[in-house]
Symmetry: C2
């Protein structure tokens, strides 16, 4: 079986599994308990917080643990939009569906103006349009733009957007789920104000993530209670929190090697497509996320079952985000690019375990299927 | 080290750890992916749902996975109180702080009347007061009353409260976090409408739980997306979901033996207190939760550091709920019983691993400390 769907989720690193296994055997306190086992559990949580914050070059107090990316998104969107001073939210139509759902829901609940930026044919926003939207608004805004698109890989300059937001005193959330563990994100410059991480995207466990909240900014929690300094109620998932920090540490240790590997795999894939299949279109920016390519295959009646053919051949790729694939409709990202009518999308996302032999197999199936 | 704080959290069962370890090595698909690994992950999730629903004698479609008890509580409270037809919420002052926080927050957000029932000296509500409150209200109500109190063990009759609620067409949420895996709760009679489970209370992993929602009732999600049939967005925590079902299965298999053990441990503890210490007061109902006793020690200046003395002696007990212990103030439950001024509370909660030798050691420390 060949797994090329690493933007949806990744295999847990064996070292992370073994670490988590050992913790589960040797710890079980509730970090809120004041006795010895409680304190030991608290140390696990705080060491993980220190580790993650140091990798992002921020303060430990700026990291809060969640049950994953979606909870992180909802926490920030609710926690910011509920503030009376926030009167506008600016985003783009190709954000992750979790983000768009959350923005639509909470902007309606709190009566906040919603502005969708235009995107170009590669999924880039226009920075001038963003600046104009911010300048023309009297109140305070939240800008939500993802660092790397999970379907088409297109990257955003957090620096450029951050500077525009700072100039207009707007808050800036960047969904960094696809880039944590792939780039050495450094949030010490003061932007974004909020960022999101999800461990299962970087070979950590599912069901755990974190949010970064700039220390100068306060948001209201969704779950009210004492844990996570009043920001996230609920007994801490100590094993997964520690395992996430371990997975992130491993990702940083291996980052140079893995980035090099991604570049080799990507150029191998692009070369192979050129030599074996010929000219082909791509969705988004092929120079974007280093481990991701989204191929645009012209729709014909004979390639309707394209993804199923890959599945039968034991090659796992996807048409878009896994999170909306249950819906069996065209990806909202490909639709927003204006390409859903004419093209079928195939997303290939490598991991550190991907091999060129696996790419050969993918090419074989692609040749036979289009 | 002696751990007698099993109402705060429990040690993971070694069989559950090993099962989870094996799953982490052999699975990693995203259940929303339509390819083979996605489908395998989906099977893990659906098998867990079927297992848990069958233990509770309800339909699989009535079980939804969450990141734990607090998320479950917030999902139900928000999801019910946001409905315009719900105009009153009735609860008691000794619910878990997560419940009280959530009810206070969402009743204010959605402008819903909040009614606190009176409690007697053991923490029981008055069923007649509940019936009167429901009858005297023209609109539809939500009643939230926990099955077993996590600090003092006092039990509620879900049947009696359920019947009163049915008569007035009120919705009934019971926080069953302390009783899942301890009693064979059967929700097929049609009440409660909502119940909550948290795996780390029954030797499962932290960071995972479930909600039961009666199939005739609909609530709005907090995190909007396609997963969990649109009820809970976010990639499913497949390992922990499967491990929770395993832990619950083990709890049911061993329930008769463990219940017998709890009864023996409790009567051993009560006898020992009587013979070694003498007359002592208890908070709540000593015939309540089978694994829990809450002792009321008269406050003196010399026993201010009571819990610390236990900690130093390597005996882990608590003064109340772990979730509010960070706050270092008297428990809201003991306060609501009117006992906080005069007594210090010590909660002892056994697990299946507790031994009479551990109770002897607890008695030793208690004798020296009060």
């Amino acid at each position: 079986m060949i797994y090329l769907d690493n933007a949806a989720t990744t295999q847990m690193d064996a070292k992370v599994i073994d670490y988590m296994h050992e913790l589960m055997h040797n710890h079980y306190g509730n970090p809120s308990s004041i006795h010895a086992y409680g304190r030991q559990a608290k140390v696990l949580v705080e060491n993980a917080r220190t580790k993650i914050s140091s990798l992002l070059n921020v303060f430990p107090a700026e990291i809060f643990f969640t049950s994953g990316g979606t909870e992180g998104i909802n926490t920030i969107i609710n926690g910011v939009l509920c503030k009376p001073e926030i009167t506008k939210v600016i985003t783009s139509p190709i954000e992750h569906s979790a983000m768009l759902n959350s923005i639509k829901h909470y902007s309606k609940l709190y009566d906040v103006e919603l502005c969708m930026l235009a995107i170009d044919d590669k999924g880039n926003i226009n920075l001038k349009e963003l600046a104009t939207e911010l300048e023309n608004h009297d109140g305070k805004s939240l800008v939500s733009l993802m660092h790397a698109n999970n379907e088409i890989g297109t990257l955003l300059s957090i620096k450029k957007v951050g500077e525009i937001c700072k100039k207009s005193n707007a808050l800036f959330l960047s969904d960094t789920v696809q880039t944590i563990g792939k780039f050495k994100n450094d949030f010490s410059a003061g932007y974004p104000d909020f960022a999101i991480g999800s461990a299962h995207k970087f070979h950590g466990p599912k069901g755990i993530g974190f949010i970064y909240i700039n220390g100068n900014t306060k948001v209201d929690p969704i779950f009210i209670g004492t844990q996570e300094r009043n920001m996230r109620a609920g007994t801490e998932n100590i094993f997964s929190i520690a395992a996430m920090a371990k997975a992130m540490e491993i990702a940083y240790e291996n980052m140079n090697l893995v980035t090099k590997k991604y570049a080799e795999l990507k150029s191998y894939l692009l070369e192979k497509i050129k030599s074996e299949i010929g000219d082909i279109a791509y969705n988004g920016d092929i120079d974007g996320l280093p481990n991701l390519i989204n191929i645009a295959i012209p729709k014909t009646s004979s390639n309707e079952m394209l993804l199923m053919k890959f599945d039968i051949a034991g090659v796992m790729v996807s048409g878009g985000s896994a999170c909306s694939s249950g819906a069996l409709k065209d990806s909202h990202v490909i639709e927003a690019l204006g390409k859903a009518d004419k093209y079928r999308a195939i997303r290939i996302a490598f991991s550190k375990y991907t091999t060129t032999e696996e790419i050969d197999k993918f090419i074989d199936v692609l040749k036979k299927s289009i």
